[in-house]
Amino acid sequence: MKRGQFNFVWLFAIVAGGAILFLAIFGALRFGDTARFQSDTEVAKSIAIITDPLQAGFAEGSFGKISFGQETRINNVCFDDGFGKNDISVATRSGIGKEWNLPGGATSIHNKYIFSSGGSSGFDYYVFSKSFNFPYEVSDMIFFIPDNYCFVNAPYDIVGLDIPNVEVDDCGSGDSVRVCFGSGDDCDVMVYGSCSSGCDSVFDEGVVVKDGVDMKYVGNLMYGAIFSDKGIYDCNVRRLLYRAGKIAEEFVDKTDLMDARNCNTNLKPDLIFWREMVGNASVDDLSSLRTMANVIERKNSREGCGVW
């Protein structure tokens, strides 16, 4: 009798104790996951904030470095409806089980154009920006690069890029991504310039070939094509062109205000046409649009007041 009672008490204690222990361990793990999710979400939001001062503004360009305590993957998902957005989320490398922990909450960035590989990873990210002018300044583009790059046969204006993880011509280590301009050996990325008129360099317009995929570019979009996936590149270009169309719409209204105070401009018909052309354009239209952008730019620079 006493023996049976003793057994039952022990059995009960073991089952209840086991349940409590299981819940405690489960709760601790869940809490750890939640804390990590919170931290990764904060990092993603911080990325949106710390890239603000990195925007080039009126400078030629600017760069900075983001360092993480552990290997980190920055996910970049691009949406191109209207102004569109980049959804940025961060995941850290997992010590057990899956290679990467589940990413934290995504931060939606509507007013920036972030070019990166969809799931690039590393301890240090170099971030630099260049402006997109088409023909007026549309916005700054921000490039995230965790890998080392080596530019072979780069044109003069790229030689002055001065970013620590982008070597120009002097490619020492073998693990960097080789980007060849026009020609070169063992190239991971090829850049073919095709600009023939109204350009400072033949590479002002052309095609970037990466993993067998062609990405057409004009101007500083070349960096976007080199450093990002085709999906993100095409999406961000559509967003930039949509915004260029919206700015053209604003400039059309501005021409009326300028005319009203005797600061006349003849650009209104060009801007109306440009707005229709650029607002719904895509990567494939870049080359033809560039010719027209150059014409509008020349007309604007000849005007007394100028729309921009």
């Binding site: 102004f83 007013n111 919206k246 604003e250 007041c305 100028g306």
Partner: protein
């Protein structure tokens, strides 16, 4: 038998009590942690608003000249404060964007356009009790007189409101 059952009941009650004690401790701890999360989110939104001041002043839709930092185009302000600005509702990383002309001093806010106006409301997401941050800017427009063109600038203030975490977007 009855004594044994009593012991089991005592133990069950004890275990349940211990279980609830740990749950209460856990809830207390989570309360502290999540209060910190809310504070952290608020702090990030505040930092976002402050760093956005320059970004907003330099964006092409408001900027006077891309080679001038912190200068706003008055023509663009007129356009963006009208119906055109509605297209940008989701675009702003802040709760509100307003521009005041600060010189000459004014006692009453007069919304532009209008004679002697001093205020442009660019965007408001309708969120109440917004904490604001501001910076001084130049408000310029091109003027042509006697065949020559010059930049006519005034002193202004760009004011942005801090977006509350999880605040609904929309134009107020």
């Amino acid at each position: 038998m009855v004594k044994g059952q009593m012991k089991i009941q005592q133990m069950a009650v004890m275990i349940v009590a211990v279980f609830f004690f740990f749950i209460l401790v856990g809830l207390f701890f989570l309360g502290i942690v999540f209060k910190d999360v809310k504070g952290g989110a608020g702090q990030l939104q505040k930092e976002q608003a402050i760093s956005s001041l320059r970004v907003i002043a330099d964006m092409s839709e408001l900027n006077y000249d891309s080679s001038w930092s912190m200068s706003l185009d008055e023509d663009k302000l007129r356009i963006m404060s009208g119906n055109f600005g509605g297209a940008y509702d989701l675009f702003w990383p802040v709760a509100s964007v307003e521009v005041f002309k600060v010189y000459p001093r004014f006692d009453e806010v007069e919304e532009c356009p209008g004679v002697g106006c001093n205020y442009y409301g660019i965007y408001d997401n309708g969120q109440g009790g917004v904490k604001t941050y501001s910076t001084y800017v130049a408000i310029c427009e091109k003027v042509r007189e006697s065949g020559s063109t010059y930049d006519d600038c005034e002193v202004g203030k760009l004011v942005v409101g801090v977006k509350q975490p999880l605040a609904a977007g929309g134009r107020g």
